[in-house]
């Protein structure tokens, strides 16, 4: 009893980490043997360590994104450029396809549906192009929202607004200007704290286009809800949200944008 060694909290931490020498370890073990509560606490620390490693070690085996490797190796970003070029080519192909379909649609009833379908496809392409972007998802960030909205409204030629989606946990990331088939288009991006993204595509509509109800389209893994209301066409796209979630958000957006 009299010669029991002193064991500090730091010793217990080091013991939990398996970092004590043989002798010290034996001392701590005998100290713990007489103190079941501390022994249980230290055992819990060990289990916590195992749980942490089990949870995060799998990240080591994940494929490393190309852009990270390029940054680390300071390689010119040839591959990123190639990737963007790929998207542009794909975009052009899809655009051509959409144009062809639009012509096809024009024959029967009227333009709105076809017009909307073209818009949905373009919106999906824009989403697929920009939403995976880590570094430059937008041209103007949400910190300059007022400027962003004024700029986009001016270029699009209609009053454009960025709806508030805080109630569904989505915050505005920012926006950018895109070329559309008949003029500039505004694209707003939103994301959740966990990085799930959606984009809202807004274009000015020609006077003759009549208003439409919500329509749904799916391009690869991107879900799109789109509609035409007064002088603007809207398309809301996401690859991260389910159809139901997106519809819920689309309704929210629709209500907010109602003049």
């Amino acid at each position: 009893m009299s010669t029991e060694p002193t064991v500090t909290e730091a010793d217990l931490q080091a013991y939990a980490d398996g970092r004590l020498g043989v002798e010290r370890r034996a001392e701590v073990e005998s100290w713990l043997a007489a103190r079941p509560e501390d022994a249980e606490r230290v055992a819990a620390y060990r289990r916590l360590g195992d749980a942490l490693r089990a949870a995060y070690d799998p990240v080591l085996a994940e494929p490393v994104p190309q852009y990270l490797e390029s940054t680390a190796a300071r390689r010119p970003r040839a591959r990123r450029i190639a990737a963007v070029a790929g998207w542009i080519t794909l975009g052009a192909l899809l655009g051509a396809l959409a144009g062809w379909e639009a012509r096809d649609w024009r024959r029967p009833a009227g333009q709105p549906l076809a017009e909307g379908a073209v818009m949905a496809r373009r919106a999906a392409i824009a989403h697929a192009t920009y939403s995976p972007e880590v570094r430059h998802p937008v041209e103007v960030g949400a910190d300059q929202e007022e400027h962003l909205v004024a700029w986009l409204s001016k270029r699009v030629g209609a009053r454009v607004r960025a709806p508030k989606l805080d109630e569904v946990g989505m915050a505005l990331v920012g926006g950018r200007l895109l070329p559309g088939e008949s003029g500039p288009v505004a694209l707003f991006m939103y994301q959740t704290a966990a990085g799930r993204r959606l984009t809202l595509y807004i274009r000015a509509e020609a006077k003759g286009n009549r208003e439409t109800a919500f329509r749904y389209a799916r391009e690869n893994n991107v879900s799109v809800f789109y509609w035409i209301e007064r002088d603007c066409g809207y398309a809301i796209s996401s690859a991260d949200l389910s159809k139901e979630e997106l519809l819920h958000i689309a309704t929210l957006v629709y209500r907010q944008l109602e003049p």
């Binding site: 942490l52 995060y56 070690d57 109630e167 915050a171």
Partner: protein
Amino acid sequence: MNEAERLVELIPRLRRYARALVGDRASADDLVQDTLERAWAKLHLYRRGTDLRAWLFTVMHNVHVNKVRATRVTATLEDELPELAQRASQGDALLVRDLDRAIARLPTEQRSVLLLVTLEEMSYEEVAHALGIPIGTVMSRLSRAREKLRMMMLGQGAAAKLKVVK
């Protein structure tokens, strides 16, 4: 092996640490990207022959601290999104998520110490050096981080048991 090759080699470890530090994948990779850029910009400050890994973690720590200071806003209502499609409720995934949340509730400085010791298996001296703090502080932060996590996990266990009894 030159610096570029060694940096590439260290990416998976930076990603693992970043994932545990900030939670979601996109922000974690963003942090890694910023760290790599900063590392290149500051490479003249790195002394050859010393531990590049430890130095990189120092860089990442500084980048992260600056980011946290700069944003502070992003903690929104993620939890209030209705049932999300990809949230499978498998046991393992659930545990990882609980752990994610518990870790997120630790103060940043405690989280860094715990993760460097547990995931990176750095010695206490290395951690002290990487974070620029005395070793006594490393030990007290480590101890506090673990005790907090243990309490959180105990709390969850108790809650789960209560539910089962009901």
